[in-house]
Symmetry: C2
Subunit: 134 residues, 2 copies
């Protein structure tokens, strides 16, 4: 399986998890092919739109480019959405970092598995609070 | 160009039109590949999410299946969105029909070019009112 397919499969897994707690979610099509900012996933909780830029990592650290972060913030601002960088660490599951909690490096941003584990930024603690109430 | 590519190009054109009036819009990825309801396009106006099921027609009538309409309504209800069937009639441009304004046939629904022209359901009259104010 190539890298793109793996990314899509990871995104689909997150969409399943969101629908699983009653939050409608969709995957955004080929954001690369148009010039506009766009997230990878959009989800709809009660009166709160959530947007996710999704990454996967087999290492314990994931670097995120300024461009990725900036376009996510731009889209969030234009749509009044709550933005998260969602990182799936291999065998550790998904973690969710708000853009203003990202750690800046010289060149870009970094998300460290140790820190997101310590801060308990997993699905249960960050996303489940948005669980949709009927 | 095959039918799928034509459909995608038409959707991209509508996304350009929406961004052109300041409304952020995205194309939803391969709705067919997951079991959940989903629209083709999601757009974000002031406090109003708009969702579109997109169709193209070279004829003066376009039939829309019950399944397409029902899953659009389901998604709209779950996300408090405003739903439109968007039909691009060749050389006539886009028209936007609310789901409860669709005309029921024996088997499905139909959108007629004559009627949408008469009712002036074009972009200018139906969508431009959502134009985003900063």
């Amino acid at each position: 399986m190539n890298r793109k397919s793996k990314g899509i499969n990871a995104e689909r897994e997150l969409i399943h998890q969101l629908w699983g707690i009653g939050i409608p979610a969709v995957r955004v099509a080929g954001s690369g092919s148009m010039k506009y900012p766009s997230p990878d996933i959009i989800a709809f909780s009660n009166n709160q739109t959530l947007i996710f830029e999704c990454k996967a990592s087999i290492e314990n650290k994931k670097y995120i480019s300024n461009a990725d972060v900036n376009q996510l913030i731009e889209f969030a601002n234009k749509t009044n959405s709550k933005a998260y960088i969602a990182v799936k660490f291999t065998n550790k599951g998904w973690f969710f970092v708000e853009t203003n909690d990202l750690i800046k490096t010289k060149e870009n941003y970094v998300i460290s598995l140790d820190i997101v584990k310590e801060k308990k930024l997993d699905f249960q603690n960050t996303i489940k609070k948005y669980k949709k109430l009927d």
